[in-house]
């Protein structure tokens, strides 16, 4: 498991228009952005931060075809092999009549699977303990957490954030070890930096 106790310089912005150039500059200066916490989804911020595209929808597709095959194979097995019923001489393999249930199971598997995967990837569940860098990150502030390494000069980072337009700046120590595995390119960059 990656993570452990880490130190962060946390800067809070009150305007996404200031945040965007700040993200760019912080990355250019070579600091490692741990994450940016925002009250609503900001389009393009993931790209600005260098996060890769999510492949959650691919998972959704895989769940969907699992649902399709489950429904079709189960109904075929029941009506052609396990308990064939003669309904007025109609064919046992009644594909058109199975379309509705096949469709419903496709949707059901995909939706349930995707939501569970989403919760797993984001480590969301009741009673999970997480570090919240700023209580107003779910209200009106855009909170950028920059990870400090042994070589980082905290004061320099704070100054940098100040210049970039952050309204509130502080230093926090937090546990980040709740991830199961590596999840994005950022994590990898960090490891490379540390020379693992």
């Amino acid at each position: 498991m990656a993570g452990g106790i880490k130190k962060f310089v946390v800067g809070s912005f009150d305007d996404e228009a200031v945040l965007f150039p700040a993200v760019k500059n912080v990355r250019k200066a070579g600091y490692k952005i741990h994450d940016v916490y925002t009250p609503f989804p900001i389009h393009g911020l993931d790209h600005a931060m260098g996060l890769r595209e999510t492949s959650l929808h691919t998972a959704g597709f895989i769940y969907a075809i699992t649902g399709t095959t489950t429904a079709l194979s189960f109904m075929s097995w029941v009506f052609t092999k396990d308990w064939p019923l003669n309904v007025g001489g109609k064919p046992h393999f009644a594909l058109p009549a199975w379309i509705p249930i096949t469709f419903e199971l496709t949707v059901l598997f995909s939706a349930v699977g995707m939501v569970l995967t989403f919760c797993y990837l984001c480590q969301l569940s009741p009673f999970v303990k997480k570090h919240h860098f700023h209580a107003r990150a779910t209200d009106d502030l855009f909170v950028m957490a920059i990870e400090c390494t042994d070589k980082t000069n905290d004061a320099e980072v704070q100054n940098f954030l100040q210049k970039a337009g952050a309204k509130e700046i502080n230093i926090q120590v937090a546990e980040t070890g709740w991830w199961i595995g590596r999840y994005d390119r950022e994590q990898k960059l960090y490891r490379e930096e540390k020379g693992y």
Partner: protein
């Protein structure tokens, strides 16, 4: 540097007033942090009372059997299935708003989607009651599930529309619930982070699943919402299609028609929007959310009502025409005598339906009436009555005179326990809705914030200035260039 995105000035703002992000949070969340008003308690206890009456009606039905209802030899489906179809239909508006309008990138959905989705879930819960208790021996209800059993195993009939319904309704409920709750997570986190008391912090902390607002999470959340919307769109169409198959695949005159799926879906959306109007007109007033659920929102929904109402009207006329054109004597009898003949036992219900669903929504061609709250509220009730009668007409007028005239039934009117059951589902619906309005953000806070800078009134005003400055500059440059 400005990040303002341009939206045409011709479009009216979706958020009124001088708002910033914090103000949005404040406006939507503070009502649920206060003690509920007297009005809330009165409404809540009336709903619980109705729910208890419904529970007692169901208790009688389970104890003494289906005979507690006034169903008879030919009318085997009466109020129960009428109510089932009516409630399922109402649910459809929520999914339409949250899924289809998301795919169509309709900004106005953000003001109403949360409450409409909640309505969907509660309406489907109410709908589900009817087929379940209608089974009579409700303790055998699990027989509808295809599980390995000791009776063979004898499987359910996958070729039956009634079984398709089991799958459709349960999938619909599950997917709507997931869609709704995944959208709620960020907003519940907002409530959690504002909480003053320990208990609130704990409860909303548990409910928000530890949401932080991380960019990566938002990215996945967006992807999840989009795919769930993509799945829900065909799902919602399939659900009422399958409900209509319950009728259309039979050979009962008046039911055996291929027009049913689109006709049912349009009717469902029609009645659902009417219910959304009924609820939101009250909610916006009581909770002071007029800035977020504006006249523009109400007008947009009224446009959907006039469209779907007209589709429904077109379907009524089409089936009437085809019944005549098809020259099947039974089909034509069902339409000309059982329904359209005002002096037949149920003729009045047919014409009431025609009036409520086809004639009255035409008022909404007038912009003035579309933007009139009193008219809208009144119309939303009329439409819901009309859509209830549509299902009543379809069910009862088709089966009260079957192929054997000797068994033509006498006039069917529901028993008090049948009515009680219906009222009970109202109790269930409004109890859930009152609790929802008290404990959950009724408007999607995060989504409003994401459209605030493009469609907020104050930001649009700012945009006008920028636009004007730009066009002036352009004009000056053009003039200089010309010289």
């Amino acid at each position: 540097m400005s990040l303002l995105k341009y939206e045409s000035q011709l479009r009216e703002p979706l958020v009124d007033g001088d708002k910033n992000y914090h103000q949005v949070t404040e406006d939507i969340i503070s009502p649920i942090e206060m003690k509920p008003s007297k009005l809330w308690y009165i409404g809540f206890f009336i709903s619980v009372g109705l729910l208890l009456f419904g529970a007692y009606s169901v208790y009688r039905e389970v104890t003494y059997g289906i005979g507690q209802w006034n169903l008879n030899k030919t009318i085997g489906w009466g109020w129960d299935i009428t109510n089932f179809v009516w409630w399922v239909g109402i649910g459809h508006a929520g999914t339409l708003i949250s899924a289809i309008l998301l795919l169509f990138r309709q900004g106005w959905r953000t003001g109403v989607n949360r409450a409409a989705e909640a309505m969907t879930i509660f309406a489907v819960m109410c709908a589900g009651q009817f087929p379940i208790w209608h089974m009579g021996r409700v303790w055998m209800a699990f027989f509808v599930l295809p599980y390995p059993n000791s009776r063979g195993p004898l499987w359910v009939n996958f070729n039956s529309p009634l079984l398709w319904d089991v799958f459709a309704i349960s999938t619909y409920f599950t997917v709507s619930l997931l869609f709704w709750y995944s959208g709620l997570l960020p907003d519940l986190a907002t409530v959690r982070d504002r909480a003053k008391t320990k208990l609130r912090k704990l409860l909303y902390g548990v409910a928000s699943f530890g949401w932080t607002g991380s960019t990566k999470h938002w990215q996945r959340h967006e992807s999840l919402s989009l795919v769930l919307a993509g799945l829900s769109t065909p799902l919602v169409l399939s659900v009422h299609t399958i409900v209509s198959f319950d009728f259309a695949t039979s050979i009962v005159p008046g039911w055996h028609t291929t027009i049913f799926p689109p006709y049912f879906v349009a009717g469902a959306i029609f009645s659902g929007f009417a219910m959304v109007q009924t609820l939101l007109i009250v909610v916006r007033k009581v909770m002071g959310l007029q800035d977020y659920i504006t006249l523009g929102h109400i007008e947009a929904m009224n446009k959907v009502i006039v469209l779907t109402g007209s589709i429904v009207g077109c379907a009524y006329l089409t089936e009437l025409f085809i019944a005549w054109y098809g020259q099947n004597p039974y089909e034509w009898y069902a339409f000309s005598q059982n329904r359209a003949n005002l002096f037949s036992p149920y003729g009045w219900s047919y014409w009431l339906m025609m009036f409520c669903n086809v004639v009255s929504p035409q008022l909404f061609w007038s912009r003035k009436l579309r933007r009139n709250i009193t008219v809208t509220f009144f119309m939303s009730i009329v439409v819901n009555i009309g859509m209830w009668y549509e299902r009543f007409v379809i069910i009862v007028t088709s089966i009260y005179r079957d192929f054997l005239p000797s068994s033509w039934s006498t006039y069917y009117s529901p028993s008090i326990w049948e009515i009680g059951f219906y009222l009970g589902t109202f109790g269930l619906f409004f109890t859930c809705f009152f609790l929802f309005a008290k404990y959950f953000p009724v408007i999607a806070v995060a989504e409003i914030k994401s459209i605030l800078k493009t469609t907020g009134e104050n930001y649009k005003a700012k945009m006008t200035d920028i636009e004007k400055a730009d066009s002036d500059k352009f004009y000056i440059e053009e003039v200089e260039h010309a010289h």
